[in-house]
């Protein structure tokens, strides 16, 4: 066999061709995997939009539920979801961020801290129905908050706090140690370092994690059924102690009816839920950009 010389003909040898084919095959597999997700989402959105858009009009947003499909609307569920979302955000955000700051900036690295850390990670994996049962026992019964918006928001806060805490810890850990050293070196106290340097730098990451967690909360049904959200309500909550229903529950309620008209209403409800999620993501992006340009 002759010396191949200074050629780059690797692609023409059998071995070289096989290597090339493997590379192309792998890229193709990855592209196909991506396409599965994108296509599924595309089909889902198109299907829901086709079914739901005809029913989605101004009346749909301002009417309460009804046995007559033409008169049924989503007002109570939309208002309930917004109430739940707002209260959940107000409760879970400060508590989670404070917990993350404590774990990252104050707690000493001993077995207690490690135990807490492991438990937070485990809590993030607990099924939501379990949180529902806890919410029922703790908030509805023990604290006598009854089947209120507040009970629901507290339950969902417990559900998403582990996720926000872990996201906030990641964001705080990503703040360069050199920035902390510089601030300490100038005679700043621990609180001043956290408030003036660590939190502003970590805020974009914390906000992203919070919005993602809230997006999960807005789609939850099971724990809210446990704490007493109902499928039909003819009023919107006027305060945190009122009864409530939420979008996913209303959608489920409609889907389970035998008449086709209610299926169309469910599709319209899904469109509203998706729009709510999209606008939350938009808020996250705006907040993130605001913080980043300020630096």
């Amino acid at each position: 066999m002759s010396d191949p010389g200074p050629s780059f003909g690797g692609a023409t040898t059998p071995r070289g061709r096989r290597r090339r084919r493997l590379g192309v095959l792998f890229a193709g597999l990855c592209a196909a995997a991506t396409a599965v997700g994108v296509l599924a989402l595309g089909v889902l959105l198109t299907d829901v939009a086709l079914d739901g858009l005809p029913s989605l009009d101004g009346d749909f947003l301002v009417n309460f539920g009804s046995r007559i499909p033409e008169r049924a609307g989503i007002k109570a569920a939309l208002a309930g979801s917004v109430w739940i979302l707002t209260l959940t955000a107000l409760i879970s955000f400060p508590v989670s961020v404070a917990a993350a700051i404590y774990l990252e900036e104050y707690a000493s690295q001993n077995w207690i801290t490690r135990t807490i850390q492991t438990n937070i990670a485990n809590l993030a994996g607990v099924p939501s129905i379990v949180y529902g049962i806890l919410g029922l026992a703790l908030f509805v019964r023990f604290f006598r908050l009854d089947r209120s918006v507040l009970s629901g928001a507290l339950t969902l806060s417990l559900l998403i706090m582990p996720v926000i805490i872990m996201a906030a810890q990641e964001a705080i850990r990503a703040v360069p140690g050199t920035i902390r050293e510089a601030a300490y070196g100038l005679g700043a106290t621990r609180w001043q370092v956290v408030r003036t340097q660590v939190l502003p730098s970590a805020m974009p990451g914390i906000l992203t994690g919070t919005i993602l967690a809230l997006s999960r909360a807005v789609g939850e049904t099971a724990p809210l059924i446990m704490v007493g959200a109902v499928g039909y309500l003819a009023f919107t909550p006027a305060g945190p102690m009122d009864r409530f229903t939420v979008l996913p529950l209303q959608i489920y309620n409609w889907v389970s009816r035998p008449q086709d008209e209610f299926r169309a209403l469910a599709a319209a409800g899904i469109v509203v839920l998706l729009l709510l999620l999209l606008s939350m993501n938009a808020v996250a992006i705006v907040l993130r950009n605001r913080y980043q340009t300020r630096n």
């Binding site: 902390r180 050293e181 510089a182 601030a183 300490y184 700043a188 106290t189």
Partner: protein
Amino acid sequence: MATIYDIETGGRVPALEAQGLSVFYGELEAVKDVSLTIPSRQVVALIGPSGCGKSTLLRCFNRMNDLVPAARVEGAVTFHGQNLYGDDVDPVEVRRRIGMVFQKPNPFPKSIFDNVAFGPRVNGHEGDLDMLVEASLKQSALWDEVHDRLQDSAYALSGGQQQRLCIARTLAVKPEIVLMDEPASALDPIATQRIEELIYELKKDYTIVIVTHNMQQAARISDYTAFLYMGHLVEYGPTETIFTNPKEEQTEAYITGRFG
């Protein structure tokens, strides 16, 4: 064995005195029983090979090692007759009076003005902040380059300018001693020269302790030099003596480039 090096300080008041200082990182003893006197308004260089404990020793002087959870300090550092490691000493106050400039320029992700104003603000400065910022930037020879863009991000500055900003930021707190941990190691030769000229100027008002990897730099800018090896203070004395007529064989081997 502890050796206290008596050095000719020309009757100068000692700014800092370390007595039997040892630092442990868990089981590892990074600084071993070091005693030395830092004379006031002089430049003292700490030299030695990587891992010899010179940065760790420097960080003892403003209690930065407190921030490393596994670090433990034994011995005493005396400053104005008070042990910095005494029970009633607040490390936050120590760091205000003994400032520090770090190896890599580490400005805050804020404007040039806010970087310099940070220290005075957290320390409750009362008075004209604009004047203080201007004076600090002039002291660090940066004012002429940035006076018309104080609200720009500090990240827009070059590496050398960022390091001079960090020096201005340290000076704005009005410390008595400035600790510098290889302040020019991440800079090009021109920027390094500017920092060295600056150190020469600052010596008039401040005591400076500088860690450096660069022996020529130590020879150029310092009045006293301490050579550390494996956590021990091998030799300490006037820079000229250390570089021309060292007493210890290890010192001579290091400065002539036989190891390190």
